[in-house]
């Protein structure tokens, strides 16, 4: 019996297209992600094999979310099919057994819903074979397959996930016989996933997120977050730890639901009253004799009324449609989950500014609206025919085009309604959060700018596709191909234009400083282009609208004449003309006026640049010793005029007879170099070659005059520059001047790509050497083009804006209705400065002789005092511990949220709008992003600006790691308890461990760091913090101070070895191993507490005995690890509370064996014991370092 139901269910589904369609979707998605870098599922692949177990697992997991849709389809249909077909009365009158029926169908559906997901495996296997053959991806990017990858993924994730989803859906379907309710059940799972996603935005919540995630997706990503490339390539998911608990929890939960449903299930059906009533009516005899037919007037032209009637009917039916309701609820839940959690950094959230709300609304609605539009485009176009009312409707005297346009408008109205409701929810959220500066107009403007064009285009195009294709399911397929597949085709063809990808526009971001922009012109024209395109397509499709019986394409073409009136032809042709005009205009702007290169062309150029010009790598160039700038910024026109005088000197031993310039094509350059004549100009590469005759002799000095002009012409495909905008322009000196000499940053960096293109491996940073020679004449920032120089700038902008350049403000005046500012550096500095212009409020504070100034947007005054405090605190700590500050001002300057960072120029620190100005810090005592970031940037005024590493390995240790350390020390100063620092440090630990997991080349020891952020920020700060904990803050600071005094504002530049020389004598012999372990090698610790017992002593104290296990691990650059012998000093300690906030005892013990026992005596009741209680050491699993104490 079971077998019968099981097999018949399978037979039924194998004959339906659904199964194959689902399989195909999964297969194609994974295949595409596997064979190109342009499609990605769950993040970039990086350094590991493209078919690594880790990658396959991530694909499988993400696809199980789609799988929920499949599960809903299979389980719900299976449970309701007999019911819907009114077959259950026949069926249930037969002597069938309940188990066979219930479980047969359930298990068949379970099996069926896992089938499409195996498309992941086929996609990746086929991809790994096809991609190397076709030359898409190098063969060595694929590693071996492991059979366990497939088996484990199927049995740990795919099958259980479908079981969980299926049990919920199937039980609900059996209980309620209502598709809507089944869908709501499926939704619960999405909600679990969503909430888990929001929870992991802060690492404090990782464990709970692992359990909450119904499908185990976050669970796996948390489990694997510190995997090294080697581990990603070889480790298969296994049923242990968090994954095991998660699976047990949810499979158990699902099993209980299924069992409950099974016990409730019975073959007797409830008869609905409705059908009885209908039956009795059947035999009723017509008694009433109707009165005479009323007189009515018949109008021949009532198109508007027809339109309204169609529209009303469509809307009526969609709003009652289950799918609509479900997707609507989905997007609401998505929005609420996003609003309720969603941390940005350090577990903090921004104020609910309207632009954040807009981002959230667009983010949570767009996918669902797209699904709704695709689904209902088919539904609406086919509705009359599907329900067979088409012949009646088609034979009425309405104009053929009316249903077409009313359907399109109905579809469009859906998107509007959903969007409006979501906006309403966002506004309610703002109010609940007590945030009252709601910008209603921004909601409206954003909709008009960003969402209206895309939704309208989609609606019209999708309807047109259904009309033209004239087959609902093929229509769906074409729609999906147009929406998803077409972009892939374009990628393969290496065509990259927003004009070809339906609804695409340049990217535009709203910021409080700059409003919409800077690409708003482009967005407007592209939007118009797409609206006209879709309108044209739609009205042309109207010509071949299938009225009456189903007709072949030829027949429909033949009936074009009967469908067109003269007015309609005129309208269509004028749309056509407008479209062609707009298209030409867009084409002119994006392809001719602002032409750009395809990615293949870019690659080609990068290759030929390297080939032709690499030989000039060692061409001597003169050094800049002084710079004067005249910069005129025209914010409204998005223009800038630069006139720079650079004083150059030939500090080389040979005469300089030629000079190579890399010119940015966006800029219009003219160049006056005494005695220089241009000998070649390569427009493709932007390379200008000059001969200097007579040559510049060693010691010669001359002044180079450069005029450079940036002009925004029309608009471009990719959007306009974010450097020169209407409010918040931000330029640096590298952007506004041509690059001198061979520019190795133009080379292709990706090692796999280089190999594919036949290039030699890219030269890495110069190796760290004791006798560094000429390499120490360059620092890694200015690469030898300059050392510490004097700079003067005169910068002008529009009258209402303030322009800022590094240095003291010498003069400020107005001329020609423009504002002028003259700045001069008070001390020679790195040749690295910013030019900024916007309308600012300025907050000022005096600190000794230094002006602390915060330049900010009037809307963002909330955290300004905190910023002033942070600058002051930094100045105090750094001057006391490291040495004097050489500028007369310390400025923090807000810039628009085109990017999220802060950067230190001499005395001047641009700081992104979205990185602290709007963060909600009202209830925060501990993790204060502003304190941390400002202290870091301020520290750069010492570490990078007074002292900077030579251009070789280890260079960034002295700038980034030192600054991050300095920042931590200022935080330590204000931290109320030692445990607070653990809160800060955990982000650095996480940054390092995650970073090495995603390393693309190779991990290096700290003292040889090659500008790898996870090493110099993450590991650097952890190591230096640990060092001061082990040898003392004053020792570390005095080493840094000595180091600074020795090299401050001097050349040659120091290396990390120079620092270690000064540091080493300050370390006691017993800890000497730390230099090797922490700086010169890659060392990890694997410590855990095995047992912790306590007993009360007679004197009222407590004795805590612990057993610890400790390993020291050395790793190589790709993550091969080996355990080494121990002779370490590590802390052990006791907490009096289970939250690990109150550390009542701590001692540093010598650990020379993997397994050791210790006893500690504490005064008060112990709750937890720990090894390394303050998380000083790098340990991949820290949670097992503590354990509750048990009493014996």
């Amino acid at each position: 019996m079971f077998k019968n139901f099981f097999l018949s269910e399978l037979r039924y589904s194998f004959r339906q297209p659904m199964l194959y369609l689902f399989f195909l979707i999964v297969f194609l998605l994974v295949f595409a992600a596997n064979v190109t870098d342009n499609v990605s599922i769950g993040g970039a692949i990086g350094n590991v094999f493209r078919n690594a177990p880790n990658i396959i697992t991530i694909y499988s997991l993400i696809m199980t979310i789609f799988g929920l849709l499949f599960a809903t389809a299979f389980f719900n249909n299976s449970a309701l099919r007999d019911h819907k077909n009114n077959f259950q009365e026949i069926l249930f009158s037969k002597p069938i057994d309940k188990f066979g029926y219930f479980m047969g169908k359930f298990l068949a559906s379970l099996f069926l819903s896992t089938v499409p997901l195996t498309g992941v495996f086929f996609g990746i296997i086929l991809g790994s074979k096809v991609a190397p053959l076709m030359g898409w991806i190098e063969a060595d990017r694929f590693g071996p397959f492991f059979i366990e990858t497939f088996i484990n993924n199927y049995f740990i994730f795919i099958l259980p996930n479908m079981f969980i989803g299926g049990a919920i859906i199937y039980s609900l379907a059996q209980e309620y016989k209502n598709t809507m309710i089944s869908f709501v059940g499926a939704m619960l799972i999405i909600v679990g996933y969503s909430i888990a996603g929001e929870l992991v935005s802060d690492i404090d919540n990782e464990k709970i997120a692992s359990l909450v995630d119904t499908f185990g997706i976050r669970t796996y990503s948390i489990t694997s977050k510190y995997y090294t490339p080697l581990e990603k390539n070889t480790l298969n998911p296994s049923l242990s730890g968090l994954i095991l608990y998660n699976r047990l929890l949810w499979v158990g939960f699902a099993a209980i639901i299924l069992f409950a449903s099974y016990t409730r299930f019975s073959f007797t059906t409830k008869k609905s009253k409705k059908s009885k009533k209908n039956k009795s009516d059947l035999n009723k005899v017509i008694l009433s004799v109707p009165k005479k037919a009323p007189k009515v007037q018949v109008f021949k032209n009532s198109a508007l009324l027809h339109f309204k009637s169609f529209f009303k009917l469509n809307m009526n039916s969609i709003y009652k449609h289950v799918t609509f309701k479900i997707l609507f609820v989905f997007s609401i839940i998505q929005l609420i989950a996003g609003l309720a959690t969603g941390f940005e950094y350090f577990g903090l959230k921004s104020y609910p500014l309207t632009y954040f709300m807009v981002d959230q609304v667009n983010g949570s609605s767009s996918l669902f609206i797209l699904i709704i539009l695709v689904f209902f485009s088919g539904e609406l176009v086919w509705r009359d025919r599907d329900v067979q009312v088409n012949e009646v409707i088609d034979s009425t005297p309405h104009s053929t085009l009316i249903p077409l346009f009313s359907k399109t408008l109905s579809l469009f109205s859906l998107s509007v309604v959903i969007h409006l409701v979501l906006i309403l929810i966002a506004i309610i959220y703002q109010l609940i959060s007590g945030f009252t500066q709601i910008e209603f107009s921004l909601y409206v403007k954003d909709y008009i700018y960003n969402m209206f064009p895309i939704y309208f285009t989609m609606c019209a195009a999708l309807v047109a596709i259904q009309v033209i294709v004239n087959n609902k399911y093929i229509g769906y397929m074409v729609s999906v191909i147009v929406l998803l597949g077409f972009d892939i085709i374009l990628l393969i063809l290496d065509v990259n234009s927003n004009m070809l990808s339906l609804g695409s526009t340049p990217y535009m971001i709203y910021s409080d400083l700059n409003g919409f922009g800077p690409s708003n012109t482009g967005v407007f024209w592209f939007s118009l282009y797409w609206i006209l395109f879709s309108l044209l397509l739609l009205s042309l499709s109207g010509l071949i609208w299938n009225r009456g019986v189903k007709k072949s394409f030829k027949e429909r073409l033949n009936s074009i004449n009967s469908n067109t009136s003269k007015t309609y032809s005129i309208i269509v042709s004028s749309i056509g003309v407008l479209f062609i005009l707009t298209a030409s205009f867009v084409y002119y702007n994006t392809q001719i006026l602002n032409s750009y290169k395809s990615s293949d062309r870019y690659e080609e150029l990068a290759v030929s640049y390297e080939k032709y010009y690499k030989k000039y790598k060692n061409l001597p160039f003169p050094k800049i010793i002084e710079a004067k700038y005249n910069i005129d910024i025209f914010p409204k026109k998005k223009m800038a005029d630069v006139l720079a005088y650079l004083t150059l000197t030939n500090n080389k031993e040979k005469p300089i007879d030629s000079i190579l310039l890399n010119v940015n094509k966006q800029w219009d350059l003219s160049f006056e170099f005494p005695n220089a004549t241009i000998i070649s100009k390569n427009e493709d590469h932007g390379v200008h070659f000059y001969r200097i005759d007579p040559p510049m002799l060693p010691g010669d000095t001359l002044i180079l005059e450069i005029k450079n002009k940036y002009e925004t012409k029309g608009f471009s495909n990719g959007g306009e520059t974010t450097s020169i905008v209407k409010n918040g322009s931000f330029l640096n000196n590298f952007e506004i001047l041509p690059n001198i000499g061979y520019d190795s940053s133009k080379e292709i960096g990706d090692k796999n790509k280089r190999k594919k293109l036949g290039l030699p491996p890219k030269e890495r940073m110069p190796k760290l050497e004791v006798d560094c020679g000429v390499n120490c004449d360059k620092n890694y920032l200015t690469q030898g083009f300059s050392d510490y120089i004097n700079v003067e700038s005169i910068i002008s902008t529009s009258i209402e804006q303030t322009a800022i350049a590094p240095g003291s403000l010498i003069r400020k005046w107005e001329e020609n209705n423009r504002a002028y500012f003259e700045y001069r550096l008070d001390h020679p500095s790195q040749n690295f400065y910013s030019f900024i212009s916007a309308e600012y409020e300025i907050a000022k504070r005096e600190w000794n002789d230094v002006d602390i100034e915060i330049y900010y947007d009037a809307k963002h005054s909330v955290n300004i005092d905190m910023m002033l405090d942070a600058v002051e605190r930094s100045l105090n700590y750094y001057t006391e511990n490291f040495g004097p500050y050489y500028h007369k001002q310390a400025r923090v300057i807000e810039f628009p949220r085109f990017s999220t960072f802060a950067q230190a120029f001499p005395g001047t620190m641009p700081y992104s709008e979205s990185f602290g100005f709007i963060i909600d810090l009202e209830d925060e005592e501990d993790n204060n992003v502003i304190d941390a970031v400002i202290a870091h940037e301020m520290a750069h005024q010492w570490w990078a600006h007074q002292l900077v590493g030579a251009n070789m390995q280890g260079g960034t240790l002295m700038s980034e790691a030192f600054s991050e350390y300095s920042s931590l020390m200022t935080l330590k100063d204000i931290a109320k308890t030692p445990m607070k620092m653990r809160e800060f440090l955990k982000y650095d630990h996480d940054r390092y461990l995650r970073g090495r997991s995603g390393e693309l080349e190779k991990e290096l020891p700290l003292y040889k760091v090659e500008n790898q952020q996870y090493i110099h920020y993450g590991k650097g700060s952890v190591i230096l913090y640990a060092l001061q904990d082990y040898i003392g803050e004053d020792k570390v600071n005095s080493a840094m101070k000595e180091f600074l005094e020795k090299y401050r504002y001097k050349t040659p530049y120091p290396t990390s070895l120079n620092f270690l020389e000064i540091l080493e004598p300050k370390i006691p012999d017993s800890l000497n191993y730390l230099i090797d372990d922490w700086f010169k090698e890659i060392t990890l610790y694997d410590n855990r507490l095995k047992t912790a017992f306590a007993k009360k002593l007679d004197n009222g104290k407590y004795e805590v005995s612990i057993e610890i296990e400790a390993f020291k691990i050395k790793a190589d650059s790709v993550g091969n690890e080996k355990k080494v012998s121990l002779n370490e000093w590590i802390d052990i300690g006791v907490f009096s509370d289970s939250d690990e906030e109150n550390l009542i005892h701590q001692q540093r013990v010598n650990i020379n064996d993997s397994l050791m026992r210790f006893t500690m005596i504490v005064d008060s009741l112990p709750a937890k014991a720990a090894i390394d209680p303050r998380h000083i050491l790098i340990d991949r699993v820290f949670s097992d370092n503590t354990k509750p104490v048990s009493f014996n």
Binding site: K279, V296, S302
Partner: protein
């Protein structure tokens, strides 16, 4: 007196099936019955007249109006109930009729409301006007179907196999409704039930393989066979030999034994009995002619 003149209508489907093969016919006001076996082309013909399908060649004139070139005008005069009449889900009887009435040009809201109520009363569904039509039984749906086809006083009313699936009582009620329409209206009724035509129609045509094999008044058809139809009860085993030796126009079982009707100018032999020809005999005779 109105008339609908069909001339040389032909239509071949992409799969080479000739749905209409040179159909020419004149239809005058009153009930016109279109008989034919399944697949004869009745629905194709109806749809062609109802402007839902284009013919490859030929013309249709409604009085002086060229129907194929003036579809919109003709549709103003048309009422159509297709063979399979479905309804939108999630809308009520009243909403559906209101929508169709709007499309038929009844633009004044109150008039429309009055008309819809009148029609609902007429088809005895007034008390169901706020119910979802989707839940209606087959008979009720068919009544909604006829109600919608009557909207706007059509001059040409086309009903395609309207009684298929209805029980005898429903069928009678349905024809009552149909017979209520004005005298001046051309009603084209397709059916494969011969008695329907006999009872209702003043003119008729029989179709087979896309051709009109007979047209005229039902009585004319019957008269043409007068005295030439004979009946005999035979055993099952004899059937084949009779089919070879006689022109057997029909056979059916009566009390389990085959009774054959034979067309002959005189009585074949004594065992046969001369009978009054029925419309059914006319039907089968014409079909057979065409089959050969």
């Amino acid at each position: 007196m109105r008339q609908l003149v069909l001339k040389n209508l032909s239509k071949t489907y992409p799969n080479n099936v000739k749905a209409l093969d040179d159909v020419s016919i004149e239809i005058k006001s009153g009930m016109f019955g279109l008989l034919g076996p399944n697949g004869a082309g009745k629905s194709s013909l109806m749809r062609t007249i109802a402007t839902l399908q284009e013919a490859d060649s030929g013309s249709i004139f409604f009085d002086d109006l060229n129907v194929l070139d003036n579809t919109k005008e003709f549709r103003q005069n048309l009422g159509y109930l297709p063979q399979e009449f479905g309804v939108y889900p999630r809308i009520t009887a009243e909403q559906l009729l209101d929508h169709i009435a709007t499309l038929k040009g009844i633009s004044i809201k109150n008039e429309r409301k009055e008309l819809v109520e009148y029609l609902l009363q007429k088809v005895n569904l007034y008390d169901k006007k706020n119910k979802n039509v989707k839940g209606f039984s087959g008979g009720m749906k068919q009544r909604i179907g006829i109600a919608q086809s009557l909207i706007g006083d059509p001059k040409v009313l086309i009903v395609d196999e309207p009684t298929a699936g209805l029980d005898p009582g429903e069928r009678n009620r349905f024809y009552d409704l149909l017979s209520d329409v004005g005298e001046d209206v051309i009603v084209i009724l397709s059916t494969h039930i011969v008695d329907d035509v006999r009872e209702l129609c003043t003119q008729m045509a029989i179709m087979n393989f896309g051709q009109i094999v007979f047209s005229g008044a039902p009585d004319d058809g019957i008269n043409s066979l007068k005295g030439r139809v004979f009946e005999k009860q035979i055993s099952k085993s004899e059937l084949d030999s009779y089919k070879e030796s006689h022109q057997v126009i029909s056979n059916k079982l009566i009390a389990g034994k085959p009774v054959i009707h034979v067309l002959n100018d005189k009585i074949p032999d004594k065992s046969f009995k001369k009978i009054e020809p029925s419309l059914e005999d006319v039907f089968f005779t014409n079909i057979q002619k065409n089959n050969q």
